[in-house]
Amino acid sequence: MKSVELEDIDKYFPSSGTWALIQARLSLLPGQIHAVVGENGAGKTTLMKILAGLERPDSGRILVQGKSVKFNNPSDAARLGIGMVHQHFMTIPGLSAAENILFGSEPRTAFGLLDRKGIVRSAADCAARYGFSIDVTRNAESLSVGERQQVEILGLLYKNCDILILDEPTSVLTDQEIRALFTVLKQLKASGKTIVIISHKVGEIKAIADRLSVMKDGKSLGEFKTSDISSHALSDLIMGEYESPRKKIKTLPSGQDHPVLELQSLNLYGQKKKSSALRDISFSVNEREVLGVCALANNGLKEMEDLLAGRLKPDSGSIFYLGKPYPKLRKAPWLEGGIAYVPSDRIGRGSCAERSVAENIVALDRDYFFPHGLLDQSKAQARTLKAIQVLSVKAKPESNVSQLSGGNIQKMILGRELSEPPAKLCLLCEPGWGLDYASLRRTYKRILEVRNKGSAILLLSSDIDEVLELSDRIAVLHKGSLAGVVSNGPKATKARLGALMMGLNSDDDRLTPIGNKEHE
């Protein structure tokens, strides 16, 4: 059991010209769950990367058991039992879950060959020991985000880390997965592990953390026992304002006679054609309407996103956009006939991390921004400023996206897709992913503004709160089928949606029959 102290850590990022950390401090007590809280860009992740050996501090000290240590790389930190699960999961595609868990310490047979059975056995043992129910033989690309997270946690446990740092571990998980994660974290704590979670969600912090440190603008505001601080005081500390109770949205009379997006009996087979990933899906999204689609992981949300993003073709059925067959390639959202698309995978699909913010924004419209094949700087500048203003991204147009924090990348993508003039159709997948409270409020406000201007919004989200907060109607997917479509009124409760998501369709449900459009 180790205690850890971070003292007076400074970190300057010359490329973006910002001080990420100014005299930041943190102390961890062994066997406790410690939350590091603060807004997007407060320096939480940078501080934790320093503890995990991924970044080097410009000045300051790291003390483990009272002894000053220097980490040149993550292995140095791992040798002292410190490991980190990143916000953007680092599972390696092309390798199995087991190979990912054991990556770097694989058992081997003669001639440096992998002991493939041994890898599977060790990984499965490790998963069983800590109560994870994951099939370790599966390929990493086929895992859901929740499972990828499990793989990463298992990887640290396998390497005998006893200080586990989790960067916003709940931001991509469903309620059920979050509960499972918290159970696991409590078990790990009981077995003597020290856990650090980076978070900005007050409810979660109250539920799981023993102690917490608050950060703002790269500085430490202090450490508290969670029991000593009220939720209100905590949210006050994080964003300087109390969290107001959630208001149900005012639903508008949607243009029911003007379906913008129509899905007609879509079927999509699963990977090996044994199962169907989506079965007989029909619904339409009308003008001036948010249709929220929610589901647990692996129930078809991802496939629906892939279909509408043009990555998959339906095996039968059709999709129409404004009465015409759905385009194979979308146009930029601000163009006539364009579609806004915020992917659930913000780094892989939503942005190109090695390019500048401006390039990430203008790349959607080659004809306009690249007349004669060359970039028109002034047009690009204007559009970029417009897009980053929408949600006030903290970055310069020329900064590389890889230097932005996760929340800022998400805000950049949201701003790009939801800037003026808004698209007729917006496909928003997990739009609140990794946003802090203040940014989330602004994002939701902007989404509703866009709706009020007449856009049809299809919201694909595994976050029930998000769906309840934004949707006019809510569709629930269970095992690839529509379990129900309900209007967002007093009857649309979290419990009821949760039951639908798990396939518990009670008899007295008065749901709109699936497939029947309401105006028919």
Partner: protein
């Protein structure tokens, strides 16, 4: 000559023509799976052809020739890799440099060692057709398979070895992980660049043997004798979707085109320039078909 003899003849020479392609593609797979575009395959092959031939003629041993070709090419690959990874030079430019460097250094050394910058033909032992006597008389495919010289069999073993190394060994797993997600390799405490360098050197090793398999059976070194095979190997990798088995199949198709064009010269009264362009036309068509199938 019956059509059957013609067909088996074309097949047998296709297998021979596949040898350098298969080896170069196996080498290219290492860099490709490590996440790099290795445009230096062509130059590395040429270096292997020259040094392999020079060593074989000096020592009178084919094995030493193969080894020398592999090592010389590995050394050039190491230079190319170091410039790219350590000195952070643009991989395209250093690759181009390697492709220009190889024919120039061989020309200089050829002039000083053999007194000529053009074809060098010296007596070296011929690669044995080791199964010819025992199985070579088998009908049809038997004759095709067992009439090859030893370097072809070596190439099959080495190609299988490359696949084994990539998919079943610790080193290969790290190389593939580097290509798939370098930051995860770094986060696990390893240096992605050292795996990239290893992949480049391995690609040099295989390309060196590929080059030796051109010059040794011919008993001569001809300037620029790789004649685009490094590039075709690269195309085979893309067509094979970076999988070993499919890449080998693509190599066979290209080799078949090459062997057919050799046979067809002077057969149909078509100008030989057109006939000789067949392998390249096949490459072009295959590449465009391959990409359109993949984007479906």
């Amino acid at each position: 000559m019956s059509w059957l003899d013609t067909a088996t003849g074309i097949l047998a020479s296709a297998l021979a023509a596949m040898t350098p392609l298969l080896l170069a593609a196996a080498g290219g797979l290492f860099t490709e799976l490590a996440g790099m575009l290795n445009i230096a395959l062509e130059g590395l092959m040429l270096a292997g052809a020259f040094f392999g031939f020079a060593a074989a003629s000096a020592t009178g041993s084919l094995s030493l020739g193969i080894l020398a070709g592999a090592l010389a090419s590995s050394a050039i690959a190491w230079l190319y890799g170091s410039a790219t990874l350590r000195l952070k030079a643009n991989a395209f430019i250093t690759g181009l440099a390697a492709n220009i460097f190889a024919p120039s250094i061989t020309a200089v050394l050829s002039a000083s060692w053999f007194g000529t910058k053009s074809v060098v033909a010296l007596p070296i032992p011929e690669p044995a057709r080791i199964f010819q006597k025992s199985f070579g008389k088998l009908p049809l495919l038997g004759g095709v398979l067992f009439s090859q010289h030893s370097l072809s069999y070596l190439s099959w073993i080495l190609a299988a070895g490359a696949a084994l190394l990539l998919y079943r060994s610790v080193l290969g797993t790290r190389i593939r992980a580097t290509g798939a997600r370098a930051e995860a390799v770094a986060a696990a405490g390893f240096k992605p660049d050292s795996y990239k360098l290893a992949a480049i050197v391995l690609s040099g090793f295989f390309c060196g043997i590929a080059g030796a398999s051109l010059s040794l059976p011919l008993g001569a070194y001809v300037p620029n004798m790789s004649s685009g095979r490094g590039w075709i190997a690269l195309v085979a990798i893309y067509l094979g979707n970076r999988r070993p088995g499919r890449t080998a199949l693509a190599c066979f198709i290209f080799a078949l085109a090459e062997s057919f064009s050799n046979y067809a010269q002077g057969q149909f009264g078509i100008p030989s320039e057109f006939i000789l362009a067949i392998p390249f036309a096949v490459t072009l068509v295959a590449l465009s078909l391959g990409t359109s199938v993949k984007s479906e």
